[in-house]
Every structure is written in C-alpha cells, then in structure tokens.
C-alpha cells in the first residue's frame, strides 16, 4: 500500500465507528454482478526504486543527440530558477483557485501572467491560458464566431502556412458547431497567396501565423487590413519569443489583430514530448466576455486591501453549464507559473537577445548546410529561426541516416505538404553552438555522399 497510511488498528477503529464488519461491507450497495477483483493487465506493484530503474532505462533510450527540429516545439535554455520555483509543492499541489483567500499565490501569479502576455502581444487582455496552442486556435475560432455579429457566414479562412497540426486540431474542435474552414493556399514563395484572397466571399475571421510554419515572415499588415476592410476578425497565431523582436499583433495593420493565440512552450517549458505546455489567448477589451476559460481580476477585500480572484465566471461551465463559452474547466496553471517566472527573469531585453541569437544561429546553420552541393534554401524571404531546405534526396531517409551521427536533423515535410518530399524544416535555437552546427554540416555531407 504505497501511499495509504492506515495501520490495522486504524482500520478496526474506523470500521467500529461506521458499524461495519469489513471494508468490503462498505461496497454493499453495489450490485454483486458488477464487482470484480481481477486486474490481470496491471503488473504487480514495485518500489519507487524499481519504478525509477525502469523509467530511467526508458528515458535514457530516448537521448537521441542534438536537436535541430522546431515545428512548434523548441529546444531553448530554461533558467534553473524557473522549475526550482515552479516545482514547489505550494504551486504544484494546489487546486484551481476557487477559494480565492487560500489561493492568492496562484491568483496573483496568473494576474501577472495575463499582464505579461498582454504586453508581449500588444493586446488589451489575456485569459489564464488554455491547453495548448493548437486547441487555443480552435477556441479562438469559436470565439470569433460568437463575437463577430456583423458577418453571417460561418466560414473561417485559414492560411495553409499555419502549422498543419493547428489547422487539424482547430477544425476538429470547431466543426461540430457548423464552422467551415477554407484554406488559403501557399504561394511559391512560401507565403500566403494574397491573390487567392480576391475570390473569397464573406468570412468571419482570417487565421495567419507569424512566423509561419516554414519560419517565414508573412505580410501581416496587409492581411490584417484585408480582414479589417471586410469586417472579418484577424486571428494571429504567434511564437511568443519572437514577439520580443517582431512587431506584436496589436500593432499589425492599421487596427491590429482581434484575437491572438499560440503556444507558450518557448517561455520556460521543456520540450518533454510536446506537453504539458500551454496555449495563450489574448484579445481586445470589447471581446473579453466571449473569451473561454479562466480570467483573474484584481479587487479588494473587506478591509480595502488589494487581492485577486476569478472573475467573469458567468462565462464558464461551472456556472452556465450548457450556455458557457466553452467546456474548458482548467487552465495549464503550472506551465503558466513557469512562463511567468521565465518572463520575469528574462525581461524584454533578455527575451529579445535570445530571439536575436536564434535568428543568428539559424543563419549560420543555413549557411553551413547550403555549402553542401545539392542543398538549397527552398524559399528566399526573411525568416525567424526556422528554414526549409531542399535536399537532393528524400528528406525522411536523410533524417533517419542523421540519427546515426547523433543529429535530430529537422522535420521532413512530405507528409504534411505533398510535393515537398525532399524538403526539410530545420531550426537552430540560441542553444546550438558553432561546433554542433559544424557537426551537423559534416554529418549531412557524409549522409548525402553515401
């Protein structure tokens, strides 16, 4: 009984109090035919030491080498203090802050988080986070449907340059409410094909990702103005780290974006197989009542001292049930804790320097790799920290070969973009050293020559 504290005497005292003969008696209301006592598929219990032995062996088997994969999850440095503080039991083992007076730590922290995300995105407000960036886009789409009363069509335009998994997830979330997603194709230069927009009818919202899935910078000003002129909302999907360097969605075009979402992983969250991370969701003041999920507000206690509490709860499922803005019932509290501490440590300057170094390292990586005969940049426009390369052969095969050299070479794009079977999406974060980049270059050269 690894975590049950009862001694045999305790059990006797408790049964006597209840007036039962045995623990089994406590299940006497359950019909006999439903009772089982066999769990053959569950192994016998082991000690913590044995469990850690097994898990350590498995974890060690997955140490694969130097990571040049991005595609929505990035290998950044995380300051030691971030998870030292986040893993404190007071943060990690607390529940949803429904009892505000007993949860001021979590509540104030989320208020600070909301403030930082609003600042970073250039928007008015943020919620307390949603599950991840992809599901956040689904929520953003539904939010646009509720909020944009001017447009009757239930169509959302989504750029083909948005992360394929985001597109898939958002559609799977929103389609049950009659939302139709139309894809704006990608042009030969790797950006949204603006000419395709002319043929589009009435739409509720337009979704654009900056930097886009290929790492390229879209003409977000033009996209935002195009949407604004037609009464459509502009939903921005962004990498929060890039916003220390790039123009924030609140300043796009003449009016700015309406809803901003994305994944918070670059802000102090380990890659950890992609989760848990968190999705952020920010918007204009006027849309806040259509926001899903938790929102924290500052208020006063009965002595007039400042304090923090859940607010606008009439949007949420535990109050409104079937009429809520979403069924979401948690945020990703612990990850938001890490991100808030991360942003506090880095500050605007620190994040900007990391962003700049990512750009610089990716330039070095691209320069090194295209020095190999047959390796070329697929697109030519300005980019952040990811780049698509054309290889002289199938990129999936090359990625497998690179594993032998301890290199996670990037994401082969053929599965996601038919016709791009030789293309590889590579990424270099601030962690990638000149030595690692040279190692990648020489390994790739060997693989291509073999």
């Amino acid at each position: 009984m690894p975590f049950i504290p009862h001694t045999p005497d305790d059990v006797q005292v408790m049964l006597a109090e209840i007036g039962a003969e045995s623990i089994e008696d406590l299940f006497d209301e359950i019909p006999g035919e439903l009772r089982v006592n066999e769990l053959d598929g569950v192994p016998e219990g082991v000690s913590e030491m044995e469990m850690l032995g097994l898990m350590s062996a498995r974890a060690a088997a997955d140490v694969a080498g130097v990571c040049f994969i991005g595609a929505g999850c990035y290998d950044h440095h995380i300051p030691a203090a971030v998870w030292d503080l986040t893993a404190r039991g007071e943060f990690m083992t607390a529940y949803t802050p429904y009892q505000a007076e007993a949860s001021q730590g979590t509540l104030q922290l989320i208020y600070e988080y909301q403030s930082m995300m609003a600042a970073l995105t250039g928007m008015d407000v943020s919620n307390a986070s949603v599950y991840d960036g992809a599901s956040g886009l689904g929520e953003a789409a539904l939010m646009a449907m509720r909020a944009n009363k001017k447009i009757k069509s239930r169509t959302i335009l989504i750029a083909e340059t948005v992360h394929p998994f985001y597109r898939e997830t958002a559609q799977n979330i929103a389609r049950h409410q009659g939302v139709e997603f139309k894809t704006i194709p990608v042009a030969a230069n790797g950006l949204v094909d603006m000419s395709a927009l002319d043929e589009v009818g009435e739409v509720t919202a337009v979704v654009v990702q900056q930097p886009n899935f290929f790492g390229l910078l879209e003409d977000v000003d033009a996209m935002t103005d195009w949407a604004g002129e037609r009464g459509a909302f502009l939903i921005a999907v962004v990498n929060p780290l890039s916003l220390a360097l790039l123009k924030p969605p609140g300043s796009w075009g003449s009016e700015g974006a309406d809803i901003v979402c994305g994944d918070g992983q670059p802000l102090g969250i380990p890659m950890a197989s992609g989760g848990p991370s968190f999705g952020f969701l920010c918007c204009r003041d006027k849309l806040v009542r259509q926001m899903p999920g938790r929102i924290i507000g500052r208020t006063e206690d009965l002595e007039g001292q400042p304090g923090f509490t859940l607010t606008l709860q009439a949007r949420e499922q535990h109050i409104r049930r079937g009429k809520a803005t979403s069924n979401i019932c948690t945020n990703q509290g612990l990850l938001v804790t890490a991100a808030t501490i991360h942003m506090s440590l880095m500050g605007a300057c620190g994040l900007k320097q990391v962003a700049e170094r990512c750009v610089a390292q990716t330039h070095k990586l691209v320069t090194a790799l295209v020095s190999i005969p047959g390796v070329e940049e697929r697109f030519c426009g300005p980019f952040f920290h990811e780049r698509v390369l054309n290889l002289p052969r199938n990129s999936e095969t090359v990625v497998s070969m690179l594993l032998e050299h301890g290199i996670l070479g990037g994401l082969p794009l053929g599965e996601h973009y038919p016709g791009m079977e030789d293309a590889l999406l590579v990424c270099a974060t601030e962690k990638r050293t000149a030595g690692e980049i040279e190692h990648y270059r020489s390994a790739l050269q060997m693989c291509l020559e073999s």
Partner: protein, 487 residues
Amino acid sequence: MKKNAATIFELGKTGRGAMAQRVPSGGTPANIPESQLRKVQPALPEVSELQVVRHYTNLSAKNFSIDNQFYPLGSCTMKYNPRGAHGAASLPGFLGRHPLAPEAVSQGFLACLYDLQEILKDVTGMQGVSLTPMAGAQGEFIGVAMIRAYHEARGDLERNEILVPNAAHGTNPATAVMCGYKVAEVGLDASGDVDTEALKAAVGPQTAGLMMTNPSTCGVFERRIREISGVVHDAGGLLYYDGANLNAILGKVKPSDMGFDVLHMNLHKTFATPHGGGGPGAGPVGVGERLLPYLPVPMVGERDGVYRWMTEKDLPQSIGRLSCFMGNAGILLRALAYALMLGREGMHRVGEYATLNANYLASRLEKAGFELAYPDRRATHEFVLTFSKQAKSMGVTAMDFAKRLLDYGIHAPTTYFPMLIAECFLIEPTETETLEELDAFVSALAAIQREAQSDPERLLSAPHDLPVRRLDDVKAARELDLVWRAR
C-alpha cells in the same frame, strides 16, 4: 503572513535584470525588414534574479496545497502526489525529447505510453484507450464527438440530444453543446439515484446518448445503473462515463460492466498527478468495441516489441487530432509511474481506503450533529453535508463555514455543488489521509459550529488569518482590472 500584494512589475527598475540569463545577442537581424520589427519593448518586469526568486517564493506561501494542508475537495480527489512520479517524468531523457523525434529514438517514451494504454484498458474494461485528451473536459468532448461520429457513420442523423442527470458536472452539458447537441436534464429520486421513470420518458429516437458519473456527484453509487444503460441502449443511444469519480471504484467495478460505451479518466485525480493550481491534467478516453474506429490520434501500437505511432492511416475513421502533439505527455508519464508503484493490489486498495475514509468521516460528522444529505445511503469516496438548518436558524451559510475552515488551516470542501442540494459541502478525504487528520477535521467543524452559536460574526467575516480577508467578487466583475498598468 505578509499582507503585501505588490506585483513583480512594481519591484522593477529601468536597467535592472537577471543578467546571468542574458545570452550574447546576434545583433539586430539584417534580413528582417524594419517594418516587421518591434518598435516599443513590451512592458515586462525589470528585476534581479533574487527578486524573482523571493517574490515567487513568497507568493507560493500564500497558497493552500496538498503538501501543506488537508484538502477535502469533493469530486477533485486531492490525494498525495508522489514525488517519485514527478522524478520519473523529470528524467532528462523524457524532458529533452522533441515531440517529433523519429520513432527509432523514441522507443522508451512510446513503450511508456503503450503500457499506460494497456493498464487503463484493464482498469476500465474498455477495448481501446487513447491518451491524447489534455484534461477531463477535453476527454468529454472527444467522447461525445465519437458518439456523434458513430451515429453519423450509421446514417442515424436524427439523434440531436444528450441526456445528463441534473446533478452532473457543468462540463457535461457544456461539452454536449460544443459537440452540437441539445441537452436534456433528468432528475434524481429522493435517495439520490437517477429517476428511472423520468429517464424512460426522456429517451427516444432523438437520444444520442447519456452522460453520467457513477458514483454520482451526490456521493452515492447509482444502484440501477444496469437498468439505466438498458433503457438508453434500447433507445439506440450510447452511454458516456464521466470518470471524475473513478477513484471510488478503482479496481472494484469496471465501467464496461456497468454498460458504458465510452469514458474519460481524470489522471490528475485517480492517478495522483499534481493539479498544478488548476492544470495540467490529462483525460484519456476509453471505448468499447463499437467506438474503436473513432478514437483520436495519435495512439501507440506495438508489434514484436517495436512501438510506433498510430495515425489516421491506421484509423481512417478517427475523429482526428485534438492537440498539437501527444496531449500532456508529462502527466501520462507520472500516471504510469504511479500505476507501476500501486500495481494490481494497490489499485483495489485505492477505492477501498478512499471509501473507508469517507464513511468514517461521514459517520463522525453525523454524530457530531451535522446533517448528511443522504443519511440512509453508504458514502462512496465522498459525501454531501448540508448546512440548511444552520443557514435558517443562525444565518450562517455553507460559504461562511468554508471560509472559517480556512482559518483552521484546512482547505474548504467543494461548496454549493451539487447544485440541487441547498447549502452543501461535497467532502472527499481521499485514501492518503490519516485517521488523525480526519479527526482534526471533525474537531474543526465542531468548533466552528460552536462559534456559529456563540459568535456568528466570526464566521460571517471569515477568513481572519489569511493573506487577505474575504474578497469582493462583485467589484472584481464590475470594475474589471485584468492587467497591471503603471499607476
């Protein structure tokens, strides 16, 4: 405790920073046009590393948590979160794994997911499990989406309604609506069981399914569950099991045997992963044979000891992907670590000792003069107490009792839920609490009851000894202050 509520922003000064975290910049990128660059830096804090550490350490001290306090929050299963499980998920090989790393260098992680799928299948009696849902509510969404896919695949397109008992969690009706269904609620009888006559009257050709928890949110086991599942199945509907209360019957009853076709489990409850101040959770879904083709991807398959991802290519009728990668992978690893330590014997004991603790507490509270909502029923892993009499005779509500409990260093139970019971507490002690802790809870509530008689103001103005006094929720909603601005 410190009353200071200064934000991190107010601690900063222009030019200050945690300089050990600064990396040599690559300089302003020459390739990015001026029009794409940020002109004004975001207003993030400018603070030293020590200021950050001190600020957030002090903030953490303003939280109640399982590690600090007894936390008998009904329907939330606030049991001990084993450090060993946290350690396992924090192993460098797991933390450093990129989600899109090739299968050849992911066998350790995939093996863990596969093992967890198998364990959860056995515990629930289901035929297939997908681990992708990132929370209980997302598991519900996925479950109902599968019910919809099932009916649609059969061309059974008239089913537009989901039934839920009126004691259900708010997520149930909200989920049904998100999946495009109407919601019809079914009442309970006086003993807390579903009113089966009302259910029979409610089902029909429009019924897509029924969502319910068992044990219910009233803290009792639904005794007529087989009859209920028969009624719904006969009408052509499917049964959804909300696994929020699985802790009560872990290893004792399998949802498949009760007639459920699809379910989600809350690993952050039953499998002891930390709640994190409100997430992350994980809500894997399990299905019976009829819904197997619709499970969300990715899942993990195995052949000859080699593990691989299963995608839409393997499951062409899948309802698809609902998270960017593999859900809350780190939570899944913690749940596996916990399950490995429990083992098959430990699983049985979870439900047994959770039930023992709840029944003991219910019995002691009843003898101390408190009123149980269902005194003639066995408590399951939780039970409902009602303060209706106190509210009527002394003018102190369940909320006042809850706030005063905080002063006694005990987190309040769930208040005002289930909504159909007036002035209620839903109390779930969990199996990891000692007899002494339960006795201390009884003593605290009894002491508060005496205060309610002698000095009700003490309750009405509680809490007294926390970082803040009772907060003004109305002001928070009317004068929205959601982001910090320099004042």
